[in-house]
Symmetry: C2
Subunit: 478 residues, 2 copies
Amino acid sequence: MAKEKKVTQITDMDQDFAQWFTDVVVKAGLIDYSGVKGFFILRPYGYAIWENIQSILDKEFKRLGHENVSMPVLIPESLLQKEKDHVEGFAPEVAWVTHGGSEELPERLCIRPTSETLFCEHWSHVLQSWRDLPMKYNQWCSVLRWEKTTRPFLRGREFLWQEGHTIHATAEEAKEETLQMLKVYADFCENCLAMPVVPGRKTDKEKFAGAEETYTVECMMHDKKALQSGTSHYFGDGFCRAFDIQFADKDNTLRYPHQTSWGLSTRLIGGLIMTHGDNNGLILPPRIAPVQVVVIPIAAKKPGVIEAAEELTAKLKAAGIRTKMDDSDNSPGWKFAEHEMRGIPLRIELGPRDIENNVCVAVRRDNYEKITVPLDDIANSVSGLLDDVHNGLFAKAKANLDSNTHPVHSLEEAKEVINTKGGFIKMMWCGDLDCELKMKEEVGVSSRCIPFAQEQIGDVCPVCGKPAKHMVIWGIAY
Amino acid sequence: MAKEKKVTQITDMDQDFAQWFTDVVVKAGLIDYSGVKGFFILRPYGYAIWENIQSILDKEFKRLGHENVSMPVLIPESLLQKEKDHVEGFAPEVAWVTHGGSEELPERLCIRPTSETLFCEHWSHVLQSWRDLPMKYNQWCSVLRWEKTTRPFLRGREFLWQEGHTIHATAEEAKEETLQMLKVYADFCENCLAMPVVPGRKTDKEKFAGAEETYTVECMMHDKKALQSGTSHYFGDGFCRAFDIQFADKDNTLRYPHQTSWGLSTRLIGGLIMTHGDNNGLILPPRIAPVQVVVIPIAAKKPGVIEAAEELTAKLKAAGIRTKMDDSDNSPGWKFAEHEMRGIPLRIELGPRDIENNVCVAVRRDNYEKITVPLDDIANSVSGLLDDVHNGLFAKAKANLDSNTHPVHSLEEAKEVINTKGGFIKMMWCGDLDCELKMKEEVGVSSRCIPFAQEQIGDVCPVCGKPAKHMVIWGIAY
């Protein structure tokens, strides 16, 4: 369990977490900065993580009956304006195209910040009867939001995401879809990214522009701040009315369908870095790691070592384990540091003595534990170790979340907890916007969600003293 | 072999091929028109074709050592201007972003028409030594070109594509890459899309803006016009010099790497429609068809029919054949027409008498042949039939290409052939731009390529009478 080696090129995470994060995304080769502020280049290693996220989620979306489509990247200003709340939410932060070639355009077009309006326009063309419902679409693309302050993964002017958009014959069905997709996100975060979530509903203040209800999965980062990791929205029939989308129901009456949307982005990569990383760099959860195992031959020039390492690598690959052998000229020490920086979940060292004993040495990235593993049945053993790394990462993150979530019963206590300990606070709330604003003003926290797992930790709202309606999770958010 | 049924909703392809094409893309559910001219919505069925194209090519790119990345969607004007030929080629047809939120930007940003300049900027940050080379990247994304006339798939202001970008230590290696990727495109067109290609080099006039050499695969459509289906470019070190990209070579000298790029787009979907379709609609090559087989129960209310159809469907699916059963309330005739319109390569009919005889009836979409197939070992039989459909489509397209490619030996003959027969002409050429321009002016054709398969069909250029350098394929192009 001994820590092997201190990589000194990156900032200490407990000294300056923000700088540590920036160091990691650059040094691990995930990101390069482009010439335009807030636009980041996803390098092969960073993009490969996104590809693994895509591949798992895309299968799950399709299993649940969703189909992928491709919508235009540009939205006419008049289309964006069709739903009042929506345009108010997004118009201030979009990029405007005003010229095509040498000509000024008759109407400004914005680069999509999200595509509800485009999907609605399309549905208004193609929806006819109840037989066409539900329409359950998804799109993988990039969107733009002209943010003032930007950071790799966490807040970019452009980011990659998926946006699901569905319409249904009834409100019930649409609500079911909204919650089902939140569950997909929650399960994905926990089971694939080893990130424990607090699922719940957003307050009205924190809802998506134009939504009736917004649901979220909130995660706690290493620095105890919150990261909203995926959201799912129920729109009722608001957009459908604004866009005049109707269908002939079974009784031949024209009705408005009910709508949802849900999205998850490359922000989540920022989230997993800030959840799992340590002072030696990135730690990738095995199920989305582009390379799950790196095999390092020790005393590689000794006869038979490279061959044995190749054989081991081939065996693991054949079992579907994403494995690379590093037989470069660098020293083992340099390689250990390099692959730790890149967060590879499991390192396997194989030297002449190991080969003699028919074993190899596996080192877990999450806790540096060294395990001697027999080479017989190695693929099964390594699979098990990768699960152990996943479980180890999850348990550590869960302990961080649980031990830093504090029930509080007064405004004073809330301030003290946030100032001295940080983390999330659980507090009852009356449901009034005024009290929510006061929490921001006086305590410096926003409501993260009204968690599904409610506890009756008091009867009144500690801010105003009126009867409490919900327990809310509050925190400082990215 | 009898034609089953005339679907009357679409225009006759021999009356008005352009209108037939538009009818097919809409009626088969591939495309919807968005509110912005030249921007098309890829509906689920259209996008699923692209996903299959992506999946096959992505695997092949990766097998050959390429890695995917994600570059920004916006390019600063100053960056686009760094390579002179490139900016001249693209600046007239880009969309310009001038405002972010409510602020005017200090510098205009264009939406990428292609990303050479972005890749070059990135390489100038990250390339250090010969050990880093080659860098072989690819990106799946959409690009914008502000075209005046637009048509679904064939010419959109936005289209989906992949763009490969690589740099190499030597010119030889880069040239090898350029030709290798053209070969990938050629094999893909022929083996997966059943589209025979004429591979070759573009003349200087037809080269990509900034390239030293451009290679192309040209296909002939049903109307005998040419479609450029994929291109691969060798840049030499021109961009690398303009962007000051250098690496320390093994001898410690700083050198400029040599660069390639290569791309293939959703245009190819337009190509396969125009290659294979008929008056009953789309015909999809089996290897990229989202649904390869549709199973239609006949007299579905008779006991056991649905169950037998379900069992058959499950068997085919289990064998990895993309199969759907249509047990909707519509009549078999309606279903036949519908699935023909959508181009499903093989239809299987299964009725009570078939079940009694332990057979089903397969109908090929390419030639309407009806084949009685034993239900035993059905998956193998269906696999074979799908190959037959592929081969049938390829043979028909190859016959179209071969019988409509005419060797000509004089300008007069060229004019006559183009005016009376159409198609491609093979003609010797001196290599001078003037003669190429004269061919356009007088015959109305552009040079499609200098094919790799050269024939010495004469000694002089029929336009000017000077000694001939190459045989060129000329035609009218989309």
